[in-house]
């Protein structure tokens, strides 16, 4: 194609002919409705950053690519939109791996763009070259290496489609720098030829739906076991309708927290390793367990051979590969959780089941979640108070460890997309950037990161990102001077031989102030209410360093390999 022809074509502003790859990248992101990118620059993405110079898309410079990836994740979880992250080749790309794997395990929609060395240098161990598609393939739903600028538009369109449809997940697009400066000679083919990709959204098989409802109606001890899939499908309202119509006791996984309002009397709160005893007993005694968008994770089932032994199992899931993966299912229903729940509603009968509800109430009275507000500040009471003071309405992020479990147990979840937590991969360091990402998606909401001293230390540098972009995110560090969760295992299963878990902490308030955030440290119960109050009502980012009881343990606990109702209860429950 001659220069003249190209010039003539590019006058058409909607077309791509004559546009550089960088320009097409930019056009496509606008087309996909992207309004924010989290990332970090470098040599191989210079042409893309040059295009971003006058863009209406907000670019957020983080302090580490992992932070950018978790921010995009927090943004996606809290808004339901697809998170976007951009990094350079080599080390920029490898720094994304933890963030991608975190999003992959929890089915979070994300598109990651990485720069790559020039096409003709690929495979030569060029400067800052890494086999990015090779490295990230197992931690992405799909990935692409773009080798021709004429394919870039289509690839970006496909990437967003794949990331956000079906069972969502991260998709990575690797773009060699020469592709970003090359000019397109063809209009992109947007027909998206993906002959192998047919996500199973939508309604379920009508016959199966009726079969499932019949089983539920006939059950004496039904339980709804609700997971992240309900949140991903925006199905909370449909779930509430079914649970209330059928008077069905409902428990959620860690990732399903908020999909069902915990103040509803039907709520059993979280089940699993650190779930409530009443949820775990209910599941074990159930004669009909209905899993909705949950994947029978080992933290939930305990010993598989002893899991829900009396129950007929119904499984609603969008991913056929989730069904009968670990637990064999009696009535599978493949499709979107919200659609299927709506389909089921008319068939669900209202039944009182007084015996079953009586039994559950008894368990609730006998085994409430509890802590003793004596001596040092208890981590549980900080979360409990925060929940009450924020009307159980804040967006909460967490790190990974004991504090994460206490947050799950004590905050009091009322709304979907309220919790930002790494469940599947269990990524320490997720909390700080995820909270900030969620704040970008919800600038007017209160966003609080409930973090552990260990997890916080891994990514606290991103506080300066919150400061710089005026994000009023709050961070509570529950400092026990330990890698507490690991310490708890060593206490319980390794005769208290504490090995590699003492974790002396710096003066977090000084660090926070150094970053430009407000901060306070509290060590005594008498300071707690005021401390939380001041934090909640502060204008900007705020770090509240709370020194808590060092050797507090999380109960109930189902030890690894034990049946779900074989729990260590602690002294108080």
């Amino acid at each position: 194609m001659t220069q003249e022809q190209q010039g003539g074509q590019s006058a058409d502003t909607s077309g791509f002919i004559g546009h550089t790859g960088a320009k097409i990248f930019h056009q496509m992101l606008l087309e996909e409705g992207v309004d924010i990118i989290f990332g970090y620059p470098g040599g191989s993405v210079l042409p893309i950053f040059d295009e971003l110079y006058d863009t209406p898309i907000q670019f957020i410079l983080t302090r580490h690519e992992q932070g950018a990836c978790h921010m995009a994740d927090g943004y996606a979880r809290s808004t339901g939109k697809t998170g976007v992250v951009l990094a350079t080749s080599g080390p920029g790309a490898t720094n994304l791996v933890t963030g991608l794997a975190t999003a992959m395990m929890d089915s979070i929609p994300m598109v990651a763009f990485t720069g790559q060395v020039k096409s003709h240098l690929i495979g030569n161990d060029a400067f800052q070259e890494a086999d990015t598609t090779g490295i990230t393939r197992p931690v992405c739903k799909h990935n692409y290496l773009c080798k021709d600028v004429n394919d870039l538009g289509r690839i970006i369109k496909e990437a967003f489609h794949i990331a956000s449809s079906g069972r969502p997940g991260p998709v990575l697009v690797d773009i060699p720098v020469d592709i970003t400066v090359a000019k397109a000679e063809k209009e992109p083919d947007f027909s998206m030829s993906l002959p192998g990709y047919k996500p199973r959204g939508g309604r379920g098989n009508e016959r199966q739906v009726k079969l499932a409802c019949e089983a539920i109606n006939n059950a004496e001890r039904p339980v709804l076991y609700v997971g992240g899939g309900v949140i991903l499908s925006n199905g909370s309202e449909a779930l509430r309708a079914i649970a209330q119509k059928g008077k069905l006791p409902t428990t959620t996984t860690l990732l399903g927290l908020g999909a069902f309002d915990e103040t509803d009397p039907l709520s059993l709160k979280m089940l699993g390793m650190h779930g409530t005893a009443y949820a775990n007993h209910a599941v074990q005694q159930s004669d009909c367990l209905v899993s909705v968008g949950a994947r029978f994770d080992d933290r939930v089932t305990g010993d598989l051979t002893k899991f829900a032994p009396k129950a007929k199992i119904i499984h609603i899931d969008i991913d056929p590969a989730s069904i009968s993966k670990t637990v064999s299912v009696d009535i599978p229903l493949v499709g979107d959780a919200k659609c299927i729940l709506e389909q089921m509603l008319p068939y669900i009968e209202t039944k009182e089941r007084p015996q079953w509800h009586g039994q559950i109430d008894e368990w609730k009275k006998k085994y409430p979640l509890a802590y003793k507000a004596e001596g040092n500040i208890k981590p549980q009471e900080v979360i409990d108070q925060l929940g009450k003071m924020t009307d159980h309405d804040a967006i909460i992020a967490t790190g990974v460890g004991q504090h994460q479990m206490w947050a799950a147990q004590f905050y009091g979840w009322t709304k979907p997309r309220q919790i930002q937590t790494s469940g599947g991969l269990g990524t320490m360091g997720y909390g700080v950037p995820a909270a900030i990402g969620a704040q970008f998606g919800n600038p007017d909401k209160l966003v609080v990161d409930i973090d552990g001293d260990g997890s916080f230390s891994m990514t606290m540098v991103e506080i300066i990102t919150a400061v710089r972009y005026d994000m009023p995110t709050k961070f509570i560090v529950l400092d026990n001077d330990y890698l507490g969760m690991v310490r708890q295992w060593q206490e319980m299963f390794y005769s208290r031989r504490y090995s590699g878990v003492a974790h002396p902490c710096p003066e977090f308030t000084m660090i926070a102030r150094g970053y430009g955030a407000q901060a306070a440290k509290i060590t005594d119960r008498s300071e707690l209410a005021d401390g939380l109050n001041e934090m909640i009502n502060s204008d900007g980012p705020y770090v509240l360093h709370v020194c808590v009881e060092q050797e507090e343990n999380v109960f109930p606990m189902v030890a690894a390999g034990k049946a779900l109702d074989d729990m260590v209860m602690g002294e108080l429950i």
Binding site: P138, L145, P320, A321
Partner: protein, 170 residues
Amino acid sequence: MKHVISAIVENQPGVLAHVAGMFAARGYNIDSLVVGRTEDPALSRMTIVVIGDEQVLEQVRKQLEKVINVVRVRDFMDADYIQRDMMLIRVHVTPEKRPEVLALVEMFRAKAVDICRNSMMVEIAGPEDKIEAFIDLVRPYGIHELARTGIIAMQRGKSKTGSETQNGKA
């Protein structure tokens, strides 16, 4: 137990790595994996022999279907199908033993494709057990070298890859 699975995949770079990587990551045991063209230049066929029980097979099938570039998957569990493996084998054969080995070649409807002073290369195709039987019979002479393609398979009485079951994926 061995199962034969056939996957129609998009003919694109990276697909083999994706499928092989998925098998490795999930700890599935592959006995053989063959990739080749189909009647449609945009598609290739992978024929994979996996070892495992029925539950493993079911997961393998579902996980394969999840790979974006995999278009269709079928397992030949209950189907009536033809499977073929092909082998080139160089056997130690002294001139005195030649007639003996050639008789075997004849009996197996194999072909002697190269004969040197002390060895003979044989080409043989067929179901796996026929090939195994041939190997057993020539082993006493001494095997210099052996190469097998791995199994390819196709269902009887079907005309096109397109008529196979479509899969869902999420």
